[in-house]
Subunit: 385 residues, 2 copies
């Protein structure tokens, strides 16, 4: 097992009706800015519940944070924070709203152009507004971690940052809030959480048995519950299991003390930036090909994955690996998330552009062994057509 | 899944040499009191490393915190805290030192006789000194939870308390520190962590799939690694897996959103208080009998436990349950922790006294269904002879 530091300070309020305890989580004299996305939280009644829970607080709103939240939009919220002397940010939405709100929290105090936060990965953040959240879409784990991904529309740049200062103070996770999500968002969320888990699991063994089994527990749960979440949208326990899996997949726990990959995310980000595909769609395209191209260096964990997740015990090593890749692809497709460039009307002609972007950012040695060079990335993209 | 609030704010510094980062975890101007037990940390070099890491701090010591830490001893430490104006408590040791230090932290500010903390379960604690820890014995999970158990020697009273104010700020977990532990302490630790997990797992199903699989991951890891920890004491990865399992077993995570039992602990505590048995020994005595006597109400989870942990798929329900109980008993005995009253030269003649103590404390409706009456407790004790 590798050394690690693990810090998971976000208080989790999980379950039906937990919104009732919202006010107790926010300092009494706060000036609260509620941040949200396209407005579905106003239609489905979540925002009414938030307002009702926040009676007595000075509350303002900032809506319109888009999927893959943009620097341009978020900087408008920073202006509101400054002009209105906001002291607490409450994100009501999914991972994009959360990520965007973390950026607002850090940018509000940043002594220079906040784009610098993204250029430096957040390393120079020294303070941030406190953030809390009411989660409506289980997927990214952003509700209890210190990371965020922001896109600059002008240049198609998608950049991550992380800082201890932007850990959400609390997260209200009510599975009922997910009932009204469109099926494709639930599907994307399940695929996203699945691949977050894979990024921290499917590398090489370091005899970290707890971490491996926790990761496997999340994968098995998502495989069992994902299709049910689509078929039976108001099944509380199914939604609860999906929601809790998504949070556990990216709060630091399963990745503590083990190698991590994240190349699927890096290659996927460029597909979103260039073609506007959903985050989860890009991951579903890249992962099966990455498993295939990297089957030699990931062999031991691929075989463990084949056995423990897909029950594949017969045949040669390569047959079992092929079986696990096919099963993974078929799971994503069962969730309604296609896994080939061609499924999205892409023919691969943009691969040189995708590679240029990776090169421009210095992403030329990706993966747990830093051996995914531009040439390997090309093979992965080509294999995914 | 049941509703829950989960808060795990303790920063975990895990791995070889993490002591080097100790100073950064303690406020610079602190007056530190190091608390410890019988002094093994002075013999095995851990204390030297602590002092070396704390250069520049004003440091004092309080040793002699015993296994099953006593109110009487801890109150002496409270006097030191007050007379020396201590501002930070650093527990260096195992669960007993941790538990004792949490009590010192709360008692130092308590406005009335600190025994009241235990009489009220900690409900009225309003502040506490900050606590950090350097863990040397993986077992109780106390390094990252808000609970402690204290014994009043004068009256054989063993009482628990819990409070958000006594969450350790950080825990340094270095598996190397466990190399020099006597085998029976490692054995006790493994059994203790195993049964902590069982208390939160072996109840009735609420379709909490992540929690079940996390618990199963800990049980399987302890079963695999426990015997190796005895046979090969300086195998780093084995000790790391045991240590991490023990922390994860009782930081709130696997118990969030599921029913919990804890009757094994309640019945075991009385065996420690009356006969001075090690905590883990008492649990190893009570658990197999409790599984046997409660096989009807725990049937579904006992069958899941038999299948997923012990691979028992054949035979009738009762045969598989018998098999799982026998396998559990045999695992404890393989660890060198006997599972019968008679193994400890007890013949059961004290059972009426044990029951009187339970009755005195109002512990007459234990377990996840509150259906372990005094009569059921009597059956469990009798079955364990």
């Amino acid at each position: 097992m590798n050394n690690f530091v693990l810090h998971t300070p976000t208080r989790i309020l999980f379950g039906k009706g937990q919104i009732a305890h919202l006010a107790a989580e926010i300092p009494a004299d706060s000036k609260v800015l509620i941040t949200f996305g396209g407005g579905s939280v106003k239609k489905n009644g979540v925002m009414d519940q938030v307002y009702s829970a926040l009676q007595g607080f000075d509350v303002q709103e900032f809506g319109g944070i888009e999927p893959n939240p943009s620097f341009e939009t978020l900087m408008k919220a920073v202006e509101v924070v400054k002009s209105e002397n906001i002291t607490f940010l409450l994100a009501v939405g999914g991972g994009s709203v959360l990520d965007g709100t973390k950026f607002i929290a850090a940018a509000a105090f940043y002594p220079q152009d906040p784009w610098h936060i993204l250029q430096t990965g957040g390393a120079e953040i020294e303070q941030a507004l406190p953030v809390g959240s009411v989660l409506t879409l289980p997927a990214t784990g952003s509700e209890s971690n210190r990371s965020a991904v922001i896109t600059r529309r002008a240049t198609h740049d998608k950049q991550a940052f992380r800082s201890n200062h932007v850990f959400p103070r609390f997260a209200v996770l009510d599975p009922v809030y997910t009932y009204s999500l469109p099926p494709h968002q639930i599907a994307n969320g399940v695929v996203d959480a699945f691949i977050h888990t894979i990024e921290q699991y499917l590398t090489y063994p370091v005899d970290a048995r707890v971490q491996d089994r926790f990761a496997e527990g999340l994968l098995l749960t998502l495989i069992e519950e994902g299709p049910k979440a689509l078929a039976d949208p108001e099944n509380y326990d199914v939604r609860a299991n999906v929601m809790w899996s998504a949070t556990m997949a990216l709060n630091g726990l399963i990745g503590a003390g083990v190698p991590q990959d994240w190349a699927t995310h890096m290659l996927g980000h460029e597909l979103t930036a260039l073609h506007g595909l959903d985050h989860a769609q890009t991951l579903a395209i890249v992962l099966p090909s990455l498993m295939n191209i990297k089957r030699d260096t990931k062999r031991e964990k691929l075989l463990q994955y084949a056995a423990r997740i897909w029950g594949l015990h017969d045949g040669s090593d390569d047959q079992r690996i092929d079986g696990a890749i096919a099963a993974t692809r078929s799971f994503f497709e069962q969730m309604g998330v296609p896994t080939r460039f061609s499924d999205y009307q892409l023919d691969g002609s943009s691969i040189p552009q995708l590679l240029s972007k990776l090169e421009e950012k210095g992403l030329t040695a990706l993966g747990e062994r830093q051996d995914i060079t531009l040439e390997v990335s090309r093979q992965i993209y080509l294999d995914a057509r």
